[in-house]
Protein backbone atom coordinates (compact mmCIF):
# COMPACT_ATOMS: atom_id res chain seq x y z
CA UNK A 1 0.00 0.00 0.00
CA UNK A 2 2.93 2.32 0.63
CA UNK A 3 3.82 2.62 -3.04
CA UNK A 4 4.72 6.26 -3.81
CA UNK A 5 2.29 8.21 -5.94
CA UNK A 6 4.03 9.17 -9.17
CA UNK A 7 1.34 9.76 -11.76
CA UNK A 8 -2.01 11.49 -11.79
CA UNK A 9 -3.67 8.11 -12.46
CA UNK A 10 -2.27 6.68 -9.21
CA UNK A 11 -3.54 9.73 -7.37
CA UNK A 12 -7.09 9.30 -8.72
CA UNK A 13 -6.99 5.58 -7.95
CA UNK A 14 -5.89 6.22 -4.39
CA UNK A 15 -8.68 8.78 -3.90
CA UNK A 16 -11.26 6.34 -5.28
CA UNK A 17 -10.02 3.63 -2.90
CA UNK A 18 -10.23 6.00 0.10
CA UNK A 19 -13.74 7.13 -0.85
CA UNK A 20 -14.82 3.51 -1.29
CA UNK A 21 -13.52 2.48 2.15
CA UNK A 22 -15.06 5.48 3.87
CA UNK A 23 -18.40 4.71 2.25
CA UNK A 24 -18.15 1.02 3.17
CA UNK A 25 -17.26 1.68 6.82
CA UNK A 26 -20.02 4.25 7.18
CA UNK A 27 -22.48 1.77 5.70
CA UNK A 28 -21.43 -1.11 7.93
CA UNK A 29 -20.85 0.79 11.20
CA UNK A 30 -22.79 4.04 11.13
CA UNK A 31 -26.00 2.68 9.61
CA UNK A 32 -26.80 0.28 12.51
CA UNK A 33 -26.04 3.05 15.02
CA UNK A 34 -28.42 5.38 13.18
CA UNK A 35 -31.01 2.60 13.18
CA UNK A 36 -30.70 2.15 16.96
CA UNK A 37 -30.78 5.88 17.75
CA UNK A 38 -33.89 6.25 15.61
CA UNK A 39 -35.82 4.05 18.09
CA UNK A 40 -37.93 5.01 21.09
CA UNK A 41 -35.00 4.96 23.45
CA UNK A 42 -34.21 7.84 25.81
CA UNK A 43 -31.07 6.55 27.41
CA UNK A 44 -30.13 8.96 30.29
CA UNK A 45 -33.71 9.67 31.40
CA UNK A 46 -34.65 5.99 31.51
CA UNK A 47 -31.44 5.16 33.30
CA UNK A 48 -32.16 7.63 36.13
CA UNK A 49 -35.73 6.31 36.42
CA UNK A 50 -34.50 2.76 36.83
CA UNK A 51 -31.81 3.76 39.34
CA UNK A 52 -34.52 5.28 41.56
CA UNK A 53 -36.98 2.43 41.06
CA UNK A 54 -35.09 -0.83 40.47
CA UNK A 55 -38.10 -3.16 40.58
CA UNK A 56 -39.18 -1.77 37.20
CA UNK A 57 -36.09 -3.13 35.44
CA UNK A 58 -37.63 -6.39 34.22
CA UNK A 59 -40.82 -4.70 33.03
CA UNK A 60 -38.73 -2.04 31.31
CA UNK A 61 -36.61 -4.64 29.54
CA UNK A 62 -39.65 -6.63 28.41
CA UNK A 63 -41.21 -3.43 27.10
CA UNK A 64 -38.00 -2.56 25.29
CA UNK A 65 -37.88 -6.00 23.68
CA UNK A 66 -41.41 -5.51 22.34
CA UNK A 67 -40.54 -2.30 20.47
CA UNK A 68 -39.44 -2.71 16.90
CA UNK A 69 -35.68 -2.54 16.35
CA UNK A 70 -35.02 -4.39 19.61
CA UNK A 71 -37.56 -7.12 18.82
CA UNK A 72 -35.82 -7.81 15.51
CA UNK A 73 -32.35 -7.58 17.06
CA UNK A 74 -33.30 -9.98 19.86
CA UNK A 75 -34.97 -12.38 17.42
CA UNK A 76 -31.96 -12.20 15.11
CA UNK A 77 -29.30 -12.78 17.75
CA UNK A 78 -30.98 -14.88 20.43
CA UNK A 79 -34.17 -16.87 20.13
CA UNK A 80 -35.15 -17.99 16.68
CA UNK A 81 -31.87 -16.61 15.43
CA UNK A 82 -28.18 -17.22 15.76
CA UNK A 83 -27.72 -18.42 19.38
CA UNK A 84 -30.67 -20.80 19.20
CA UNK A 85 -29.47 -22.30 15.92
CA UNK A 86 -25.90 -22.62 17.21
CA UNK A 87 -26.90 -24.28 20.50
CA UNK A 88 -29.82 -26.41 19.33
CA UNK A 89 -29.05 -26.93 15.63
CA UNK A 90 -25.30 -27.42 15.87
CA UNK A 91 -24.25 -28.47 19.38
CA UNK A 92 -27.31 -30.50 20.43
CA UNK A 93 -28.16 -32.03 17.04
CA UNK A 94 -24.46 -32.67 16.38
CA UNK A 95 -24.40 -34.71 19.58
CA UNK A 96 -27.63 -36.50 18.52
CA UNK A 97 -26.04 -37.37 15.19
CA UNK A 98 -22.89 -38.78 16.83
CA UNK A 99 -24.87 -40.85 19.33
CA UNK A 100 -27.34 -42.07 16.69
CA UNK A 101 -24.63 -43.15 14.25
CA UNK A 102 -22.73 -44.84 17.07
CA UNK A 103 -25.74 -46.76 18.36
CA UNK A 104 -26.67 -47.97 14.87
CA UNK A 105 -23.10 -49.21 14.31
CA UNK A 106 -23.01 -50.86 17.80
CA UNK A 107 -20.49 -48.37 19.21
CA UNK A 108 -20.96 -46.19 22.27
CA UNK A 109 -20.11 -42.75 20.87
CA UNK A 110 -19.10 -39.87 23.20
CA UNK A 111 -19.47 -41.08 26.81
CA UNK A 112 -17.70 -38.91 29.38
CA UNK A 113 -17.97 -35.14 28.75
CA UNK A 114 -20.93 -33.91 30.79
CA UNK A 115 -21.64 -37.28 32.50
CA UNK A 116 -24.96 -37.80 30.72
CA UNK A 117 -23.97 -39.81 27.62
CA UNK A 118 -21.31 -37.24 26.67
CA UNK A 119 -23.82 -34.48 25.95
CA UNK A 120 -21.17 -31.76 26.34
CA UNK A 121 -18.71 -33.37 23.90
CA UNK A 122 -19.49 -30.92 21.07
CA UNK A 123 -18.93 -27.93 23.37
CA UNK A 124 -15.52 -29.38 24.22
CA UNK A 125 -14.82 -29.83 20.50
CA UNK A 126 -15.89 -26.23 19.88
CA UNK A 127 -13.34 -24.96 22.41
CA UNK A 128 -10.68 -27.24 20.96
CA UNK A 129 -11.27 -25.79 17.48
CA UNK A 130 -11.41 -22.23 18.82
CA UNK A 131 -7.98 -22.46 20.46
CA UNK A 132 -6.19 -24.01 17.49
CA UNK A 133 -3.94 -22.05 15.18
CA UNK A 134 -5.39 -20.82 11.89
CA UNK A 135 -3.06 -22.20 9.23
CA UNK A 136 -3.15 -20.43 5.87
CA UNK A 137 -1.25 -22.54 3.33
CA UNK A 138 1.21 -21.16 0.77
CA UNK A 139 -0.25 -19.89 -2.47
CA UNK A 140 -3.85 -19.53 -1.35
CA UNK A 141 -5.78 -16.41 -2.26
CA UNK A 142 -5.90 -15.16 1.33
CA UNK A 143 -8.74 -12.64 1.10
CA UNK A 144 -11.13 -15.07 -0.60
CA UNK A 145 -9.92 -18.01 1.52
CA UNK A 146 -10.74 -16.26 4.80
CA UNK A 147 -13.95 -14.68 3.51
CA UNK A 148 -15.51 -17.98 2.37
CA UNK A 149 -16.56 -19.44 5.79
CA UNK A 150 -18.11 -16.12 6.79
CA UNK A 151 -19.94 -15.85 3.47
CA UNK A 152 -21.36 -19.34 3.99
CA UNK A 153 -22.36 -18.38 7.54
CA UNK A 154 -24.01 -15.20 6.24
CA UNK A 155 -26.08 -17.25 3.79
CA UNK A 156 -27.13 -19.60 6.61
CA UNK A 157 -28.02 -16.62 8.81
CA UNK A 158 -30.11 -15.01 6.08
CA UNK A 159 -31.98 -18.29 5.67
CA UNK A 160 -32.56 -18.67 9.43
CA UNK A 161 -34.24 -15.26 9.36
CA UNK A 162 -36.84 -16.52 6.88
CA UNK A 163 -38.12 -19.62 8.69
CA UNK A 164 -41.01 -18.74 11.07
CA UNK A 165 -41.29 -20.68 14.35
CA UNK A 166 -44.78 -19.47 15.21
CA UNK A 167 -47.12 -16.56 14.35
CA UNK A 168 -45.38 -14.49 17.04
CA UNK A 169 -41.84 -15.91 17.00
CA UNK A 170 -40.27 -14.99 13.71
CA UNK A 171 -37.54 -12.71 12.39
CA UNK A 172 -38.66 -11.61 8.94
CA UNK A 173 -41.93 -12.28 7.19
CA UNK A 174 -41.56 -11.34 3.52
CA UNK A 175 -44.46 -11.85 1.11
CA UNK A 176 -42.24 -13.87 -1.24
CA UNK A 177 -40.61 -16.11 1.41
CA UNK A 178 -40.93 -19.38 -0.50
CA UNK A 179 -38.98 -18.03 -3.50
CA UNK A 180 -36.59 -15.88 -1.50
CA UNK A 181 -35.35 -18.96 0.38
CA UNK A 182 -34.23 -20.56 -2.87
CA UNK A 183 -32.82 -17.33 -4.23
CA UNK A 184 -30.56 -17.17 -1.17
CA UNK A 185 -29.74 -20.89 -1.33
CA UNK A 186 -28.52 -20.11 -4.86
CA UNK A 187 -25.52 -18.28 -3.38
CA UNK A 188 -24.04 -21.54 -2.08
CA UNK A 189 -22.66 -22.90 -5.40
CA UNK A 190 -20.76 -19.63 -6.00
CA UNK A 191 -19.24 -19.72 -2.51
CA UNK A 192 -18.31 -23.41 -2.69
CA UNK A 193 -16.71 -23.01 -6.12
CA UNK A 194 -14.69 -20.05 -4.85
CA UNK A 195 -13.64 -22.08 -1.79
CA UNK A 196 -12.30 -24.78 -4.11
CA UNK A 197 -10.48 -22.21 -6.25
CA UNK A 198 -9.03 -20.12 -3.43
CA UNK A 199 -7.49 -23.12 -1.66
CA UNK A 200 -4.93 -23.59 -4.48
CA UNK A 201 -4.92 -27.36 -4.07
CA UNK A 202 -6.22 -30.15 -6.28
CA UNK A 203 -8.57 -31.90 -3.85
CA UNK A 204 -10.51 -28.76 -2.89
CA UNK A 205 -10.75 -27.75 -6.55
CA UNK A 206 -12.14 -31.14 -7.60
CA UNK A 207 -14.50 -31.04 -4.62
CA UNK A 208 -15.64 -27.54 -5.58
CA UNK A 209 -16.40 -28.59 -9.16
CA UNK A 210 -18.30 -31.65 -7.95
CA UNK A 211 -20.25 -29.56 -5.45
CA UNK A 212 -21.14 -27.10 -8.21
CA UNK A 213 -22.51 -29.88 -10.45
CA UNK A 214 -24.44 -31.41 -7.57
CA UNK A 215 -25.93 -28.21 -6.17
CA UNK A 216 -27.04 -26.94 -9.57
CA UNK A 217 -28.56 -30.33 -10.45
CA UNK A 218 -30.59 -30.56 -7.24
CA UNK A 219 -31.70 -26.98 -6.81
CA UNK A 220 -34.18 -27.17 -9.69
CA UNK A 221 -36.15 -30.25 -8.48
CA UNK A 222 -36.05 -28.74 -4.98
CA UNK A 223 -37.79 -25.57 -6.20
CA UNK A 224 -40.22 -27.39 -8.51
CA UNK A 225 -41.28 -29.82 -5.78
CA UNK A 226 -42.75 -26.88 -3.87
CA UNK A 227 -44.89 -25.55 -6.74
CA UNK A 228 -47.67 -27.94 -5.73
CA UNK A 229 -47.83 -26.67 -2.14
CA UNK A 230 -47.74 -23.06 -3.31
CA UNK A 231 -50.61 -23.73 -5.72
CA UNK A 232 -52.66 -25.39 -2.98
CA UNK A 233 -51.96 -22.66 -0.43
CA UNK A 234 -52.38 -19.83 -2.94
CA UNK A 235 -49.55 -17.85 -1.36
CA UNK A 236 -45.77 -17.54 -1.37
CA UNK A 237 -45.72 -16.39 2.24
CA UNK A 238 -44.46 -19.12 4.58
CA UNK A 239 -46.91 -18.18 7.36
CA UNK A 240 -49.89 -18.37 5.00
CA UNK A 241 -48.65 -21.74 3.74
CA UNK A 242 -48.63 -23.07 7.32
CA UNK A 243 -52.07 -21.60 8.06
CA UNK A 244 -53.45 -23.27 4.92
CA UNK A 245 -52.51 -26.67 6.37
CA UNK A 246 -54.76 -26.37 9.43
CA UNK A 247 -57.12 -28.98 7.93
CA UNK A 248 -54.70 -31.53 6.52
CA UNK A 249 -50.91 -31.52 6.29
CA UNK A 250 -49.53 -31.24 2.76
CA UNK A 251 -47.51 -34.39 3.41
CA UNK A 252 -50.73 -36.30 2.65
CA UNK A 253 -51.83 -34.10 -0.26
CA UNK A 254 -48.35 -33.83 -1.82
CA UNK A 255 -46.50 -37.08 -1.01
CA UNK A 256 -44.53 -36.96 -4.27
CA UNK A 257 -43.47 -33.37 -3.66
CA UNK A 258 -42.42 -34.24 -0.10
CA UNK A 259 -40.24 -37.14 -1.30
CA UNK A 260 -38.57 -35.03 -4.00
CA UNK A 261 -37.98 -32.19 -1.53
CA UNK A 262 -36.48 -34.54 1.06
CA UNK A 263 -34.06 -36.14 -1.43
CA UNK A 264 -33.18 -32.75 -2.89
CA UNK A 265 -32.51 -31.40 0.60
CA UNK A 266 -30.16 -34.31 1.36
CA UNK A 267 -28.23 -33.57 -1.84
CA UNK A 268 -28.23 -29.84 -1.16
CA UNK A 269 -26.71 -30.52 2.28
CA UNK A 270 -24.06 -32.86 0.79
CA UNK A 271 -25.03 -35.58 3.24
CA UNK A 272 -24.49 -39.30 2.69
CA UNK A 273 -25.47 -40.82 0.19
CA UNK A 274 -24.87 -37.53 -1.65
CA UNK A 275 -21.57 -36.54 -0.01
CA UNK A 276 -19.65 -36.76 -3.30
CA UNK A 277 -18.10 -33.25 -3.00
CA UNK A 278 -16.43 -34.22 0.28
CA UNK A 279 -15.98 -37.95 -0.32
CA UNK A 280 -13.33 -38.65 2.34
CA UNK A 281 -11.93 -41.78 0.70
CA UNK A 282 -11.27 -39.93 -2.59
CA UNK A 283 -10.89 -36.22 -1.90
CA UNK A 284 -9.75 -36.03 1.77
CA UNK A 285 -12.52 -33.58 2.72
CA UNK A 286 -13.42 -32.04 -0.63
CA UNK A 287 -13.61 -28.25 -0.77
CA UNK A 288 -13.06 -27.98 3.02
CA UNK A 289 -9.68 -29.77 2.97
CA UNK A 290 -7.37 -26.79 3.51
CA UNK A 291 -9.42 -25.18 6.25
CA UNK A 292 -8.26 -25.46 9.86
CA UNK A 293 -9.36 -24.52 13.37
CA UNK A 294 -12.23 -22.04 13.71
CA UNK A 295 -12.54 -21.54 9.95
CA UNK A 296 -13.40 -25.24 9.77
CA UNK A 297 -15.62 -24.80 12.83
CA UNK A 298 -17.50 -22.06 10.98
CA UNK A 299 -18.07 -24.51 8.13
CA UNK A 300 -19.52 -27.03 10.56
CA UNK A 301 -21.75 -24.35 12.07
CA UNK A 302 -22.94 -23.29 8.61
CA UNK A 303 -23.58 -26.88 7.51
CA UNK A 304 -25.65 -27.73 10.59
CA UNK A 305 -27.51 -24.42 10.31
CA UNK A 306 -28.40 -25.25 6.71
CA UNK A 307 -29.58 -28.67 7.84
CA UNK A 308 -31.78 -27.05 10.49
CA UNK A 309 -33.14 -24.64 7.86
CA UNK A 310 -33.99 -27.31 5.30
CA UNK A 311 -35.61 -29.45 8.01
CA UNK A 312 -37.53 -26.32 9.08
CA UNK A 313 -38.63 -25.72 5.50
CA UNK A 314 -39.78 -29.35 5.19
CA UNK A 315 -41.77 -28.87 8.41
CA UNK A 316 -43.21 -25.59 7.13
CA UNK A 317 -44.20 -26.87 3.72
CA UNK A 318 -45.31 -30.42 4.46
CA UNK A 319 -45.75 -31.02 8.22
CA UNK A 320 -47.90 -28.03 9.12
CA UNK A 321 -45.19 -25.95 10.81
CA UNK A 322 -46.21 -24.98 14.33
CA UNK A 323 -49.75 -26.45 14.12
CA UNK A 324 -50.57 -28.90 16.91
CA UNK A 325 -52.87 -29.48 19.92
CA UNK A 326 -53.14 -26.52 22.26
CA UNK A 327 -51.44 -27.04 25.67
CA UNK A 328 -48.02 -27.43 24.06
CA UNK A 329 -46.78 -24.04 22.74
CA UNK A 330 -46.47 -23.75 18.93
CA UNK A 331 -42.71 -23.20 19.08
CA UNK A 332 -42.31 -26.55 20.86
CA UNK A 333 -44.36 -28.29 18.15
CA UNK A 334 -42.16 -26.75 15.49
CA UNK A 335 -38.92 -27.76 17.25
CA UNK A 336 -40.25 -31.29 17.84
CA UNK A 337 -41.11 -31.73 14.15
CA UNK A 338 -37.78 -30.25 13.05
CA UNK A 339 -35.94 -32.66 15.38
CA UNK A 340 -37.75 -35.65 13.87
CA UNK A 341 -37.04 -34.49 10.30
CA UNK A 342 -33.36 -33.92 11.15
CA UNK A 343 -33.09 -37.44 12.63
CA UNK A 344 -34.54 -38.80 9.39
CA UNK A 345 -31.92 -36.77 7.49
CA UNK A 346 -29.16 -38.29 9.66
CA UNK A 347 -30.30 -41.91 9.31
CA UNK A 348 -29.02 -42.54 5.73
CA UNK A 349 -25.50 -41.70 6.95
CA UNK A 350 -25.16 -44.99 8.79
CA UNK A 351 -27.12 -47.26 6.43
CA UNK A 352 -26.29 -46.18 2.88
CA UNK A 353 -23.20 -46.24 0.63
CA UNK A 354 -22.05 -43.21 -1.36
CA UNK A 355 -23.35 -42.71 -4.92
CA UNK A 356 -21.09 -42.19 -7.93
CA UNK A 357 -21.13 -38.72 -9.51
CA UNK A 358 -22.76 -39.89 -12.78
CA UNK A 359 -25.48 -41.81 -10.90
CA UNK A 360 -26.13 -38.72 -8.82
CA UNK A 361 -26.39 -36.37 -11.80
CA UNK A 362 -28.63 -38.81 -13.68
CA UNK A 363 -30.89 -39.19 -10.64
CA UNK A 364 -31.10 -35.42 -10.25
CA UNK A 365 -31.60 -34.28 -13.83
CA UNK A 366 -33.73 -37.20 -15.04
CA UNK A 367 -35.63 -38.89 -12.23
CA UNK A 368 -36.21 -36.16 -9.68
CA UNK A 369 -36.99 -33.54 -12.34
CA UNK A 370 -39.53 -35.89 -13.97
CA UNK A 371 -41.07 -36.67 -10.58
CA UNK A 372 -41.41 -33.00 -9.68
CA UNK A 373 -43.07 -32.22 -13.05
CA UNK A 374 -45.43 -35.18 -12.51
CA UNK A 375 -46.26 -33.71 -9.10
CA UNK A 376 -47.06 -30.32 -10.62
CA UNK A 377 -49.26 -31.98 -13.25
CA UNK A 378 -51.14 -34.06 -10.63
CA UNK A 379 -51.70 -30.95 -8.51
CA UNK A 380 -53.08 -29.09 -11.53
CA UNK A 381 -55.48 -31.98 -12.23
CA UNK A 382 -56.62 -32.09 -8.58
CA UNK A 383 -57.16 -28.33 -8.41
CA UNK A 384 -58.94 -28.06 -11.77
CA UNK A 385 -61.27 -30.96 -10.87
CA UNK A 386 -62.15 -29.02 -7.73
CA UNK A 387 -61.20 -31.81 -5.31
CA UNK A 388 -59.29 -29.36 -3.07
CA UNK A 389 -61.01 -26.00 -2.59
Amino acid sequence: MSKPITTFEDFVKRIIIVVFWVALVSVVVLLPIYYLLDAEFHFPVDFIHLAINPNLIIAYQLNLLATEPFRTLFALTVFPGFTFVAVYGTIFMGWVERKLTAKIQLRTGPMYAGRLEGILQNIADFFKLAFKEIVIPNGVDTATFVAIPFALMAVAGALVALVPLSPTTYIADPSVGAVLVFAILGFTPVIVLLAGWASNSKYPFLGGLRALHQLVAYEIPLILSLVGTVVLAGSLNLMNIVQAQSGLWYLFLQPLGAIVFFIGALAELERIPFDIPEADSELVAGWQTEYTSMLFGTFQLANFSRMYILAGLFTTFFLGGWLGPAPVPPEAWFILKVTIVMIFMMLPRSIMPRLRIDMLLRAGWVKLLALSFANIFLTMVIVSLGLVH
Binding site: A23, V27, P174, G186, V190, L193, V216
Partner: protein, 168 residues
Protein backbone atom coordinates in the same frame (compact mmCIF):
# COMPACT_ATOMS: atom_id res chain seq x y z
CA UNK B 1 -34.96 4.29 6.93
CA UNK B 2 -35.16 3.61 3.21
CA UNK B 3 -32.83 6.44 2.26
CA UNK B 4 -29.67 5.26 4.11
CA UNK B 5 -30.24 1.73 2.79
CA UNK B 6 -30.66 3.11 -0.72
CA UNK B 7 -27.40 5.05 -0.43
CA UNK B 8 -25.65 2.00 1.02
CA UNK B 9 -26.80 -0.31 -1.71
CA UNK B 10 -26.03 2.25 -4.41
CA UNK B 11 -22.48 2.44 -3.02
CA UNK B 12 -22.24 -1.36 -3.05
CA UNK B 13 -23.61 -1.60 -6.61
CA UNK B 14 -21.39 1.07 -8.13
CA UNK B 15 -18.38 0.10 -5.99
CA UNK B 16 -18.45 -3.54 -6.99
CA UNK B 17 -19.02 -2.56 -10.63
CA UNK B 18 -15.83 -0.44 -10.51
CA UNK B 19 -14.08 -3.30 -8.70
CA UNK B 20 -15.19 -5.73 -11.43
CA UNK B 21 -13.71 -3.46 -14.11
CA UNK B 22 -10.48 -2.61 -12.31
CA UNK B 23 -9.60 -6.06 -10.91
CA UNK B 24 -6.39 -7.57 -12.26
CA UNK B 25 -7.54 -11.12 -11.45
CA UNK B 26 -10.46 -12.18 -13.64
CA UNK B 27 -12.07 -14.17 -10.80
CA UNK B 28 -12.27 -10.98 -8.75
CA UNK B 29 -13.99 -9.43 -11.73
CA UNK B 30 -16.60 -12.18 -11.63
CA UNK B 31 -17.10 -11.71 -7.87
CA UNK B 32 -17.48 -7.97 -8.38
CA UNK B 33 -20.08 -8.58 -11.07
CA UNK B 34 -22.05 -10.84 -8.71
CA UNK B 35 -21.90 -8.17 -6.00
CA UNK B 36 -23.11 -5.52 -8.41
CA UNK B 37 -26.03 -7.69 -9.53
CA UNK B 38 -26.91 -8.33 -5.89
CA UNK B 39 -26.94 -4.58 -5.26
CA UNK B 40 -29.36 -4.12 -8.15
CA UNK B 41 -31.59 -6.83 -6.63
CA UNK B 42 -31.71 -4.98 -3.29
CA UNK B 43 -32.65 -1.79 -5.15
CA UNK B 44 -35.61 -3.70 -6.62
CA UNK B 45 -36.58 -4.69 -3.05
CA UNK B 46 -36.56 -1.03 -2.05
CA UNK B 47 -38.74 -0.20 -5.07
CA UNK B 48 -41.39 -2.57 -3.67
CA UNK B 49 -40.90 -5.12 -6.46
CA UNK B 50 -39.97 -8.26 -4.49
CA UNK B 51 -40.68 -10.67 -7.38
CA UNK B 52 -38.27 -8.92 -9.70
CA UNK B 53 -35.70 -8.78 -6.88
CA UNK B 54 -36.01 -12.47 -6.05
CA UNK B 55 -35.71 -13.55 -9.66
CA UNK B 56 -32.85 -11.13 -10.21
CA UNK B 57 -30.98 -12.91 -7.39
CA UNK B 58 -31.84 -16.46 -8.44
CA UNK B 59 -31.17 -15.94 -12.16
CA UNK B 60 -28.19 -13.59 -12.12
CA UNK B 61 -26.35 -14.93 -9.08
CA UNK B 62 -27.67 -18.50 -9.01
CA UNK B 63 -27.12 -19.06 -12.74
CA UNK B 64 -25.22 -16.34 -14.60
CA UNK B 65 -22.52 -15.69 -12.00
CA UNK B 66 -22.01 -19.44 -11.52
CA UNK B 67 -21.68 -19.94 -15.29
CA UNK B 68 -19.17 -17.09 -15.60
CA UNK B 69 -17.06 -18.39 -12.69
CA UNK B 70 -17.17 -21.92 -14.06
CA UNK B 71 -16.11 -20.82 -17.54
CA UNK B 72 -13.36 -18.59 -16.16
CA UNK B 73 -11.95 -21.48 -14.12
CA UNK B 74 -12.02 -23.86 -17.08
CA UNK B 75 -10.28 -21.54 -19.56
CA UNK B 76 -8.01 -19.80 -17.09
CA UNK B 77 -4.88 -18.20 -18.46
CA UNK B 78 -2.27 -16.17 -16.69
CA UNK B 79 -1.97 -12.45 -17.50
CA UNK B 80 -5.22 -12.31 -19.41
CA UNK B 81 -5.28 -8.55 -18.96
CA UNK B 82 -2.02 -7.29 -20.40
CA UNK B 83 -1.09 -3.69 -19.83
CA UNK B 84 -1.92 -2.13 -23.19
CA UNK B 85 -0.55 1.36 -23.73
CA UNK B 86 -3.55 3.09 -25.21
CA UNK B 87 -2.84 5.91 -27.63
CA UNK B 88 -4.13 9.28 -26.52
CA UNK B 89 -6.56 9.57 -29.48
CA UNK B 90 -8.17 6.23 -28.60
CA UNK B 91 -8.40 7.26 -24.97
CA UNK B 92 -10.12 10.54 -25.82
CA UNK B 93 -12.53 8.73 -28.12
CA UNK B 94 -13.33 6.24 -25.37
CA UNK B 95 -14.01 8.98 -22.82
CA UNK B 96 -16.22 10.85 -25.30
CA UNK B 97 -18.21 7.70 -26.08
CA UNK B 98 -18.68 7.03 -22.36
CA UNK B 99 -19.89 10.58 -21.72
CA UNK B 100 -22.27 10.35 -24.69
CA UNK B 101 -23.80 7.15 -23.31
CA UNK B 102 -24.17 8.70 -19.84
CA UNK B 103 -25.87 11.82 -21.21
CA UNK B 104 -28.17 9.76 -23.43
CA UNK B 105 -29.25 7.64 -20.44
CA UNK B 106 -29.72 10.66 -18.17
CA UNK B 107 -31.84 12.49 -20.76
CA UNK B 108 -33.85 9.35 -21.42
CA UNK B 109 -34.63 9.07 -17.69
CA UNK B 110 -35.51 12.76 -17.42
CA UNK B 111 -37.76 12.58 -20.47
CA UNK B 112 -40.01 9.98 -18.82
CA UNK B 113 -42.64 11.05 -16.30
CA UNK B 114 -41.11 9.03 -13.46
CA UNK B 115 -40.70 12.17 -11.35
CA UNK B 116 -44.47 12.70 -11.19
CA UNK B 117 -44.95 9.18 -9.80
CA UNK B 118 -46.22 9.72 -6.24
CA UNK B 119 -47.18 6.26 -4.96
CA UNK B 120 -48.00 2.82 -6.28
CA UNK B 121 -51.77 2.40 -6.37
CA UNK B 122 -52.15 -1.26 -7.33
CA UNK B 123 -49.14 -3.31 -6.31
CA UNK B 124 -48.80 -6.49 -8.33
CA UNK B 125 -49.22 -9.80 -6.57
CA UNK B 126 -47.94 -12.99 -8.11
CA UNK B 127 -51.54 -13.99 -8.85
CA UNK B 128 -51.88 -10.89 -11.08
CA UNK B 129 -48.57 -11.63 -12.77
CA UNK B 130 -49.65 -15.23 -13.40
CA UNK B 131 -52.97 -14.10 -14.87
CA UNK B 132 -51.26 -11.64 -17.20
CA UNK B 133 -48.75 -14.26 -18.34
CA UNK B 134 -51.40 -16.89 -18.99
CA UNK B 135 -53.93 -14.61 -20.74
CA UNK B 136 -53.02 -11.36 -22.49
CA UNK B 137 -49.27 -11.66 -22.67
CA UNK B 138 -49.10 -15.39 -23.32
CA UNK B 139 -47.77 -15.07 -26.96
CA UNK B 140 -44.63 -13.30 -25.66
CA UNK B 141 -44.05 -16.07 -23.15
CA UNK B 142 -44.54 -18.75 -25.81
CA UNK B 143 -42.10 -17.09 -28.21
CA UNK B 144 -39.54 -16.84 -25.40
CA UNK B 145 -40.10 -20.49 -24.52
CA UNK B 146 -39.56 -21.51 -28.16
CA UNK B 147 -36.33 -19.51 -28.37
CA UNK B 148 -35.10 -21.12 -25.15
CA UNK B 149 -36.05 -24.61 -26.34
CA UNK B 150 -34.24 -24.00 -29.65
CA UNK B 151 -31.10 -22.86 -27.86
CA UNK B 152 -31.21 -25.85 -25.49
CA UNK B 153 -31.52 -28.22 -28.46
CA UNK B 154 -28.67 -26.40 -30.20
CA UNK B 155 -26.45 -26.71 -27.12
CA UNK B 156 -27.28 -30.41 -26.82
CA UNK B 157 -26.41 -31.01 -30.48
CA UNK B 158 -23.09 -29.19 -30.13
CA UNK B 159 -22.09 -31.15 -27.03
CA UNK B 160 -23.20 -34.42 -28.66
CA UNK B 161 -20.72 -33.90 -31.52
CA UNK B 162 -17.92 -33.52 -28.98
CA UNK B 163 -19.00 -36.60 -27.07
CA UNK B 164 -18.91 -38.93 -30.11
CA UNK B 165 -15.24 -38.73 -31.01
CA UNK B 166 -14.30 -39.09 -27.36
CA UNK B 167 -15.98 -42.52 -27.27
CA UNK B 168 -17.71 -44.01 -24.28
Amino acid sequence: MADPIFIAMAVVTVGSAIFALEAKEIIYGAIGLAGSLFGVATLFFLLDAPYVAVFQISVYIGAVAVLILFTVMLVRQENWAKEVKARSLTRVAGILTGLAVVFALVFAVIATNLSQFSSITNSATFVNIGQLISTGDSPILEVLALVLAASVIGALTLSRVDREDAGR
